[in-house]
Symmetry: C2
């Protein structure tokens, strides 16, 4: 591809061309170098969209909530990008979340752009694909980009690091294991949603969250609000959208936002480096005879993996 | 530390010295270069332990099952290492699984060595800590090393890649979301356990798994057996140990094992490279003025992250 073609592709995305944007996203997923060139051109035009991460355990009703949020934003005339990330099926390449969203009411709305991603077995690859896709949706003029993901493990946390505002969805009646998980999510949530708030135990879940917040050694400048919703009936969704607006405002007015912006940039750059060298190393180890010999020596315990890693890095270092 | 000290530390681990081994594991967790030197010496003496990964969603009863398995192995006179990995609390640094195991019956048994790990916010760091710890447990003479982790996301899959045999624990009565997850775990499980098999729906879960196995386009040389257990009462644990033995035997006799051995070595080396450069990049981006300036330029959208990543990699490349 020539430089003029890069500019042409970038211009089409900036004009909101859905086909051109979708094509670019596919190319980015396939890690085509041309696509990265287009993204370089687009980057200066990004930063306008509000990027919201939404995560929670399976069964918490995230998808329904996502659908309701889209409806609310659409009524406000906003253009919405939805990125459904499914780190749970790394091999199948399936993207169940996205399929589900696609089947929903918003699938035919031209003001809603839906894209799904699943891991492809590549370490760290999902975070890169997520931030790439968010950049494209931002550049194509989405006012809101919603990243939906399942669970609250390290993957999900990496994914939501791409977001400005992170919503963690919980449901009443959590078992011990889920209580344990809370320790980690407390530190990533900007807004808590207790969905299915009509169920028994909702008060207790809200109380538990408040209790955990009290345990923090120092009060943060932003104390995550706890919003009760019944997504299936649309209850509480307006309040959630309102709280999302509050957080966005907080980010534009408070010093903490600046720090967070830097953190996000640091994360994206660091992740790109890791993935870049990781891909080269995997290719070298898997597809060159020197690399294969090195792996065989480690497997046969003739060479320790630490020495092997040093050699692999030297052999695949950036030119 | 001098070379003689490395040899001394390695000799203590090989003699099964618990304090020396625990000290080495802590040093490895802290990424002390001395510890890696000791590990280099130990590596040639590893490969004797059967390394078993056990994973499943919160509430599946993994911890109870783990405890029962330990009991069974101890009755057979085996020395057991248990590594509880908790990727769900990356910030708190807590290790809830390990605490739980420690409280159990085997905590005071000198033939059981228990260690817990939690992420420290470092991308890929957990996989490295896992394989390092497994190597030490193997070198100190554990006959079995059991890696227990929560969930079936990408993290967990990376963790279990360190194992020879992977056990996926399910429970009857799975919702839609969990069904979805199955697509991914089908490809990592060597043995399925349907725990709490006395509950309604156990037959259906077993049937669902069988159905999924039928969907595979070609029959693999090892078809994962489905073992029913009621861990709380110890039922089915003997059969599980038996199936673990069958899989170990399969690995020593079948060609597929050789391929798997290479895959594991490739994964460990690749992961060490990613983490090594990742740490250097994070340090450079976060702690040097050039790195901080680069991050600020990206945050202000004066520089795109792709160009920034290229620069960061060049500046932190291996000497």
């Amino acid at each position: 591809m020539k430089t003029s073609a890069y500019h042409q592709a970038a211009a089409a995305v900036l004009a909101g061309d859905v086909r051109a944007s979708a094509r670019l996203m596919r190319m980015l997923d396939d890690r085509m170098p041309d696509a990265a060139e287009v993204l370089r051109l687009l980057y200066a035009h990004t930063g306008r969209a509000q990027v919201i991460g939404i995560t929670g355990n399976p069964g918490s009703g995230k998808s329904t909530l996502t659908s309701r949020l889209i409806g609310q934003w659409r009524r406000q005339g906003k253009k919405v990008g939805v990125l459904a990330v499914d780190p749970s099926s790394p091999f199948s390449g399936g993207a169940i979340l996205g399929d589900r969203i696609r089947m929903m009411e918003h699938a035919s709305d031209p003001g809603v752009f839906i894209r799904s991603l699943a891991t492809r077995g590549a370490l760290g690859g999902l975070s890169r694909s997520t931030s790439d896709t968010v950049h494209v949706m931002d550049a194509m003029g989405c006012d809101v980009v919603l990243i939906e993901t399942v669970g609250v493990g390290q993957d999900e946390i990496d994914i939501v690091r791409t977001a400005h505002t992170t919503v963690v969805v919980l449901v009443p009646g959590l078992g011990d294991d889920i209580q344990a998980i809370k320790a980690g999510i407390l530190e990533i949530a900007d807004i808590f949603v207790v969905n299915k708030a009509d169920l028994d135990g909702a008060d207790r879940t809200v109380g538990d969250l408040r209790g955990l917040q009290m345990l923090l050694s120092e009060m943060p400048p932003w104390i995550p609000p706890i919003v009760r919703t019944v997504a299936a009936r649309g209850e509480g969704v307006e309040e959630l959208v309102e709280q999302l607006g509050h957080h966005q405002q907080f980010l534009t007015t408070h010093d903490a936002a600046q720090e967070r912006n830097l953190m996000r940039a640091r994360f994206v750059v660091s992740n790109l480096v890791r993935e870049g060298i990781g891909q080269r190393v995997d290719r070298w180890l898997g597809q060159t005879s020197d690399g294969q010999a090195l792996v065989a020596a480690v497997a046969q315990r003739q060479l320790d993996p630490y020495t092997a890693a040093d050699q692999a890095e030297l052999r695949t270092a950036a030119a």
